[in-house]
Amino acid sequence: MFKTLAKSIREFKTPSIITPILIIGEVVIECLIPYIIANLINDIKAGCDFSTILTNGGIMALLAVLSLSFGAAAAITASKASAGFARNLRHDLFYKIQTYSFDNIDKFSSSSLVTRMTTDVSYVQMSYMMIIRTAIRSPFMFIFAIIMAYTMGGALSTIFVVAVPILAFGLFFIARKAMPAFTRLFRKYDRLNESIEENVMAMRAVKGFVREEYEKEKFTEASDEIRRDFTRAERIVAFNNPLMQICLQLIMIFVLYFGSKLIVTSSGSYIDVGQLSAMLTYGMQILMSLMMLSMIYVMITMSAESARRIVEVLNEEPTLKNPENPVTEVKDGSIHFENVSFKYSRRAEKYALSDIDLHIRSGETVGIIGGTGSSKSTLVQLISRLYDATEGVIRVGGVDVREYDMNVLRDSVSVVLQKNVLFAGTVKENLRWGNKNATDEELEEACRLAQADAFIKAFPDGYDTHIEQGGTNVSGGQKQRLCIARALLKRPMILILDDSTSAVDTKTDALIRRGLKEFIPETTKIIIAQRVASVEDADKILVMDGGRIVAQGTHEELLKSSPIYFEVYTQQTKGGRENA
């Protein structure tokens, strides 16, 4: 896991290495300062002349300035290293996700990818900063302080042999005991918040069914359970503070007693009063560094989960890859499915598509009708190799889709997805996704075909109108027409409309179909629709049910041969469509 993450450090290796070095410098000085202070105190006690005091004071002030410079420099390099590491991580994640196939995207879901790129990266950034600053600082502080204490206090430092293990063992024990509980609890807490969100979103249902009291009871119970669990875990952690205190007190009493004994019996030759307070400072430094270590342990364990989730994305192999010598030209818009079966995951028991045999000539218009879950969308997504068939072969232009360069194939096969999105930006910018070099005339032409030109021109800013994120400022029907125009700009050989006119009124829908027929007759068109009216004049209509093509033929043929088609048709037209 660390190996994968470490790859993202790259150009920030230098600050990442310099930071600990600077920190070590700072630590050394911090451990020297009590030593100088001890001398200073002894000088004062001995009644030395002012110049001696001034010398030691000067050294001390110099050390303080040095420590300040080291500290400030380390602050800058550490920030650079961690912010840079986070930048590279986000960069690597984003680039990796761009190589993902639909399969990979489905596996993670877009919201989980967002969390991984934002919250999780933040946690790792914080931990990284902690590691290069504090994780180096604490052990060094611990070692230097012990060395200094021993050099200076000699026998007095034996107290650390007692205090350090007590604290170390205690802290370790607390962390080990509380940590797993906390990781579990945070998840529980997240779930509690999710349930609140659920409640807020479903408020109309809550009030409609008069379930306010029921919801309150449910929530009180859940909140109370979390409180109990958290209290239990927090109470373990609450022993950290007293533990630290008891060690400090031990040191204080020990140093005061044995220290004074040593001073008095040796008449200040072994140690002196100055060393007495220095020993206390070292004691503090040693214990604090242990405390910090346990905090780092907790912090790293907590962010390990985030790190794991990031690595998961980075190590995910795209399930679709370009072949070695890809075919770079699609000859025509013919499509052949030969004994194709498909399931979304290898472990899935049920096939989403079974035994599909389908032959579409270049330039044909094919309609697909079928209920929810009949795998209409799945079928067409195989054509531009958004997924690979589990069994069988799909040929476009006579060539197996797996032999094409994926970009070439997808540029020739334009899919207007059912769940489509527009991006923040102007209408023009959105349209140019289809072809970034398209001229304004080409844009308008495509929009006229998609019946979008008129309403775009009616906007105050026309083609420069700003589209909000997710296309929230245009109506559903307008959005669908913009998406069709965007797909048309690719000048594809095969155009697939996956329920792309469901929010468009029937008249406009008909106009779009007529436009497609007249202006791009050589393009193969596949239209998935709920409305029979949208497909009835197609060359061929497929009726799908349960992942199979149960009937195919023209409108008239199907009315006679397919009971499903007949049922759908009559259901949609009952009440006298003839009158209209």
């Binding site: 004062i44 986070a86 409640n199 008069v210 007190q249 307070s277 997805l417 709920q530």
Partner: protein, 643 residues
């Protein structure tokens, strides 16, 4: 606690919320109210351990004084006799302070969690009583942040800031007193040093605040971009747009890096700066102390003691303690400000005016005698009646039939923006009433008014002849089933979700309702059937399947009046036909309001209302409306777009 938008750094963004101390007062009052004994006890323990931890310099002074006395002679025995009593007192004090420390840390853990839980529950309970208007006018993300970010600031306040304030405040005053007791000159020096420390940290802190605000903006921008791209990732793939989005991302990502680097640099520098100013102050105290000693300057102190080495040394330690605690205190100010901002947002939610209900007509189980008299019944009879108490103390019972009449209804969500104009609708029991019209024509608004999610401005709505304002909201809503386009299901099993409609429904009732609404077919094909767990608003089901469950949920409630607002919009027409058949069976003899944009859904309605800009412009059934050759006709023939 983990929250979703933690700034990527250890330090908090130093936004400058207004200090509102009445909020703090209310918080403390609540805290005392929840734990009237434990909170003061905790406070006492904190104060006690604070006092004890500020006393060692006194002991040290005495011990050093003893050392000094016996230092020349090297007489440890006499020194020991002098030192031991001090240490004995210190040991006792330490033991006591340890006991109080353990008590207060344990209590604090208990109180913090309890306080948070109680606040959460209060907030949630108040929220349940808020009118729908609140939820329609506040972004869900904002409401959620009360439970995550704002509660988090309270956790900081109660678990750390308040104890820290108490403790540091106490230590500072005790140490300051001791300092004044020993030496006035040095005290002035320390105070001057502390003042400069505060000044510098304010300067650096200000710089860091500026960059943190920038960083927050960058974070927001980056997250927005990532969110948009991840949601549109499939579109990116389909258009082979990977390289362009990578380039756009790099730009935003680099900007975030710059801001984050700067902000963190400033924040990280603050620590070393404060610490080393402390060190330099220490040197100054030593130098000045030494000078005073050498120069034999008369001491200025409360104790009247002459300045000696046994005073200067503990003074040095006190300098450290003093600056350390000032530092602690100054760090808490930010979190106090944040907690107050968080708390005032929480209080704003809790103080929000709850949904009013002045209704007094209630819904009761009833039996109807042969002569038509209605008697109230305790048991579930399947027959319901409105119990209507009158001013003169008499009671009348009206049978629940499902007769809904709107008479000249006007309504506006915001003043001046009238949505409905003089709308009159008569729905007799058993009728299916449909509304058609463009988005914003007011279809959903009408249903919002019938179950009193909102109250009408003018006109009357009567239910079985009773003005709905007189009916208790809970009873009114119980008599109305609603199925909305945005189906929101709850985490739990499919069965539990259906049972939400009627909590005492048996499994058989739920399955029967599912069969009736055409949901049974797909539910029984789920891996765990009715016990399949639904999570994240049932994201593992299709929108159509969610709608089917929502219909089953309404069906199990078995209400006399049903409102279906685009309830079948995501169900394919074949399944819809099945649902329709079930619903027709279910709704026999009951009233249904249907809003649909698919005309096939409403063609068989008894009455169809065509709404335009809040007015009913046409009414009639399918045949009569077609003959009129009006808007409905145009819609039907596809001359009009419904969006």
């Amino acid at each position: 606690m983990r929250k979703n938008n933690t700034p990527p750094s250890g330090a908090k963004p130093m936004s400058k919320p207004k200090m509102n101390f009445s909020v703090l007062g209310r918080l403390v009052k609540l805290l005392f109210g929840f734990y009237p004994v434990l909170v003061p006890l905790t406070g006492v323990c904190i104060l006690f351990s604070a006092v004890v931890s500020s006393l060692p310099p006194i002991f040290m002074q005495n011990v050093i004084a003893a050392i000094e006395r016996w230092f020349e002679s090297g007489d440890w025995g006499s020194a020991k006799a002098e030192i031991l009593p001090y240490l004995a007192v210190l040991v006792v004090l330490y033991a006591l302070s340890l006991a109080s420390l353990i008590t207060y840390t344990q209590l604090s853990a208990y109180i913090t969690q309890g306080f948070l839980s109680k606040m959460r529950i209060r907030m949630f309970s108040s929220m349940q009583n808020l009118p729908i208007r609140y939820f329609d006018t506040h972004a869900h993300g904002d409401i959620m942040s009360h439970y995550t970010n704002d509660i988090d600031t309270l956790r900081m306040l109660v678990s750390q800031t308040l104890p820290q304030l108490l403790q540091s405040g106490m230590i500072i005053s005790v140490v300051l007193s001791i300092m004044i007791y020993y030496c006035g000159w040095l005290t002035i020096l320390v105070l001057a040093g502390v003042a400069s420390m505060i000044l510098v940290s304010k300067k650096v802190g200000g710089g860091s605040a500026k960059y943190f605000v920038r960083q927050q903006k960058s974070v927001g921008k980056t997250e927005g971009f990532i969110q948009e791209m991840m949601n549109g990732q499939k579109v990116v793939k389909v258009f082979c747009h990977e390289e362009e989005s990578e380039a756009a991302f790099d730009e935003i990502n680099d900007a975030l890096y710059e801001d984050s680097r700067r902000a963190n640099s400033f924040a990280n520098m603050l620590g070393p700066i404060i610490m080393n100013i402390g060190n330099i102050l220490y040197v100054l105290v030593a130098l000045v102390g030494g000078l005073l000693l050498i120069g034999n300057v008369p001491n200025l102190s409360l104790s009247g003691k002459a300045l000696s080495i046994s005073i200067v040394i503990p003074f040095l330690n006190m300098t450290k303690q003093f600056t350390g605690n000032i530092n602690q205190l100054s760090q808490q100010i930010n979190s106090v400000a944040m907690a107050m901002a968080g708390a005032s947002r929480i209080f704003a939610l809790m103080d929000e005016k709850p949904e009013t209900d002045e209704g007094y007509v209630t819904l009761v189980n009833a039996t109807v005698a042969e002569d038509g008299t209605i008697t109230e019944s305790d048991a579930r009879t399947g027959t319901w009646a409105w119990k209507h108490p009158h001013g003169d103390g008499t009671l009348t019972y009206t049978l629940l039939r499902g007769d809904v009449r709107l008479n000249g209804v006007d309504f506006a969500y915001e003043e001046g923006k009238q949505i409905l104009h003089d709308v009159s609708v008569y729905a007799e029991p058993g009728q299916k009433v449909a509304f058609v019209g463009a988005t914003g024509a007011g279809k959903t608004t009408i249903t919002n008014l019938i179950n009193r999610y909102y109250d009408i401005a003018d006109g009357k709505i009567r239910y079985d002849g009773i003005n709905i304002n007189k009916i208790k909201k809970a009873d009114l809503r119980r008599s109305l089933g609603i199925v909305l386009q945005e189906t929101n299901l709850f985490s739990g099993t499919v069965m539990e979700n259906i049972r939400y409609g009627r909590l005492d429904a048996t499994d058989e009732d739920c399955i029967a309702a599912a069969k009736l609404s055409g949901a049974d077919d797909f539910i029984s094909r789920l891996p765990d059937g009715y016990n399949t767990m639904l999570k994240n608003n049932a994201s593992n089901l299709s929108q159509g399947q969610r709608q089917l469950i929502a219909i089953a949920r309404a069906a199990v409630a078995d209400p006399p009046v049903m409102i279906m607002d685009e309830a079948t919009s995501s169900i394919d027409t074949r399944t819809e036909a099945i649902v329709q058949r079930g619903m027709d069976k279910l709704m026999e003899g009951r009233t249904v309001f249907v809003i649909a944009h698919r005309l096939s859904t409403i063609m068989n309605a008894d009455v169809i209302m065509v709404l335009d800009h809040g007015r009913i412009i046409e009414r009639g059934n399918h045949e009569t409306l077609l003959k009129e050759h009006g808007t409905y006709y145009q819609l039907y023939t596809g001359a009009f777009e419904l969006e």
